[in-house]
């Protein structure tokens, strides 16, 4: 199965015509670089979405129409079973927030400012039951899940994450297409050698092994170069991305398993190239007697 990996020196000479390596190497390097960067972006988005979703899943906001009742309401809400924490948002902070929308002159003293209480539920708490209890202790209050507020953002992040995954798949498909073209080109270039080998009794397996090895070596060099360039790019971008991710999501953009996945992408590219090259050459050989 892996005989092609260990071609002898004379066997290697069969397809070595002294030319520099073809464009396959460069295309695979570029594709690998792009795949790793896009995959890293996709994984970072996925992680950010996960961190945001986990961060807001137990958080709710209670909106009271009358700020005068907030102090009493906070006490009552804290006593509801399942409520781990209830913190009223200071009125000054509310005014500052509203001022951003209404402008400096838009928020007069006469304008009633709603009161807001941030609530964090205990794990496994029944949010619906708590919502009903909030309605009882503070009639007219709105019990809003933070997850509902950030749902459009999470949806966008998920879409971007799937888009990144689709791009990685598309780039893998494009890499396969390039390898097929390269294999066919190499096959045509070495057609006379193949004919001689066939005439002397070489099997399809023997001929295919030569091409598979040649293209796999190109792919290996290309994938290593592309992977190294991507690693450098991620290292350079990593610092600012970490800071941004920390601000936005409250966590690092990539974790250990993500780096493992990214490290496996060049390996996958080489395996894919070797497999595709083998299939392409075998298909071409079957056209002949």
């Amino acid at each position: 199965m892996f005989a092609w990996l260990t071609a002898s020196v004379p066997d290697r000479r069969l397809l070595s015509d002294g030319r520099l390596r073809g464009p396959t190497l460069y295309v695979i390097a570029i594709m690998t670089f792009a795949m790793i960067v896009v995959a890293a972006a996709g994984l970072a988005l996925s992680n950010a979405a996960g961190i945001v979703a986990r961060g807001v899943e137990s958080r709710y906001a209670i909106q009271l129409n009358d700020s005068a009742t907030s102090t009493r309401a906070v006490g009552a809400i804290r006593s509801i079973p399942g409520v781990a924490k209830a913190v009223p948002v200071p009125e000054a902070e509310m005014r500052e927030t509203l001022q951003r929308w209404l402008g400096p002159g838009g928020l007069g003293e006469e304008l009633p400012v709603p009161a807001l209480i941030n609530v964090e539920l205990a794990p496994n708490a029944d949010s619906a039951a708590i919502g009903r209890r909030v309605e009882q202790v503070a009639p007219g209050a709105r019990f809003v899940a933070h997850s509902q507020v950030v749902r459009p953002l999470l949806k966008s992040l998920r879409v971007l994450q799937w888009l990144a995954a689709a791009l990685v798949v598309l780039m893998a498909a494009a890499t396969s297409a390039v390898v097929v073209l390269a294999a066919r080109g190499a096959f045509d270039t070495h057609r006379s050698t193949i004919d001689v080998m066939h005439g002397l009794g070489a099997t399809d397996e023997q001929v295919t092994n030569l091409f598979q090895r040649k293209i796999a070596v190109d792919a290996l060099i290309g994938a290593a170069a592309g992977g190294l360039a991507a690693a450098l790019a991620l290292l350079v971008l990593g610092g600012s991305a970490s800071a941004l991710a920390g601000d936005l999501a409250g966590g690092p953009p990539l974790f250990g398993t993500d780096f493992l996945i990214l490290a496996l992408l060049p390996v996958g590219a080489v395996i894919l190239a070797a497999f595709v090259a083998r299939s392409a050459v075998l298909a071409a050989l079957r056209q002949s007697l």
Binding site: G18, M197, L200, A202, L289
Partner: protein, 261 residues
């Protein structure tokens, strides 16, 4: 599963010997074989003949008669469009293509245009059949050096084909064809690019191989070459039809066949 040749039809008769006496086994059997390329006219028609094991055959005929096409059928570069071919006692008709390499390894071919691999040295070109057969480098070195010495190219082992003369390339091609001691050697105009002296040397090489038991089929226009190989049998191909398939016409005509062919 391989089907063994049943020896029926027009081929079922005994093949005359090559002068060595005794009934010989057929190594090649053609039964109503026809060949056409694409939708063109048949270049070979109704070929019925047997080639005896250990015999020496010349294939002659005018240019365009189909000699190269017939040789292609012999060395399995082409399948017939009709009829049946038996080789080494087995019928090839419905044989899957992955079974053919084993047959090809038993056949040596000298191409008219040499078909040496240009980026390999003479040594590597000659070693190719042994390497394809899976021999180790230790098993390759000695026989290849010996073969190159036999064809007078011991000192050109590392030369690339482009740096060799036509005659030297021809000898490398012949060395490559015979290195694995094939049971059948097929040569297409092997003396077409060499002078008369070299042609005679090559003929001696072929007859020496023939004495070792290899069946030889040489396509040639060279009547001098044919005349200098008593005991060889002649097949004439013209208009896609083979005459004297049983080899009763001895060469040179009228001269009794002698041994060693």
């Amino acid at each position: 599963m391989r089907r063994h040749w049943q020896g029926g039809g027009p081929c079922a008769r005994q093949v005359p010997g090559n002068g060595k006496g005794g009934a010989l086994t057929a190594i090649v059997e053609f039964d109503s074989v026809g060949l056409r390329y694409g939708t063109g006219a048949e270049v070979l028609r109704d070929l019925n003949f047997r080639l005896s094991k250990g015999a020496f055959y010349f294939l002659t005929g005018p240019s365009g008669a189909g000699k190269t096409s017939l040789l292609k059928l012999l060395y399995l570069a082409q399948r017939p469009t009709r009829g049946r071919i038996g080789l080494f006692g087995e019928e090839l008709g419905d044989m899957p293509r992955d079974a053919l390499p084993a047959f090809r390894r038993r056949i040596g071919v000298v191409f008219q245009d040499f078909r040496l691999i240009r980026h390999l040295s003479a040594f590597d070109n000659v070693a190719l059949p042994l390497r394809i057969a899976g021999k180790s480098e230790a098993e390759v070195e000695g026989p290849v050096r010996e073969m190159l010495a036999w064809v007078g190219l011991a000192d050109r082992a590392s030369a690339r084909p482009a740096t060799l003369s036509g005659g030297e390339q021809q000898r490398v091609a012949i060395a490559r064809a015979v290195i694995s001691q094939p049971e059948l050697l097929v040569a297409d105009e092997p003396t077409g690019n060499v002078d008369a002296d070299m042609a005679q040397r090559l003929l001696h090489l072929f007859t020496a191989l023939n004495r070792l038991g290899t069946t030889i089929v040489v396509a040639t226009h060279d009547l001098g070459l044919i005349a200098s190989a008593p005991g060889a049998q002649m097949m004439r191909l013209e208009g896609g039809i083979l005459s004297d398939p049983t080899g009763t016409l001895r060469n040179p005509p009228g001269r009794p066949a002698s041994g060693g062919g």
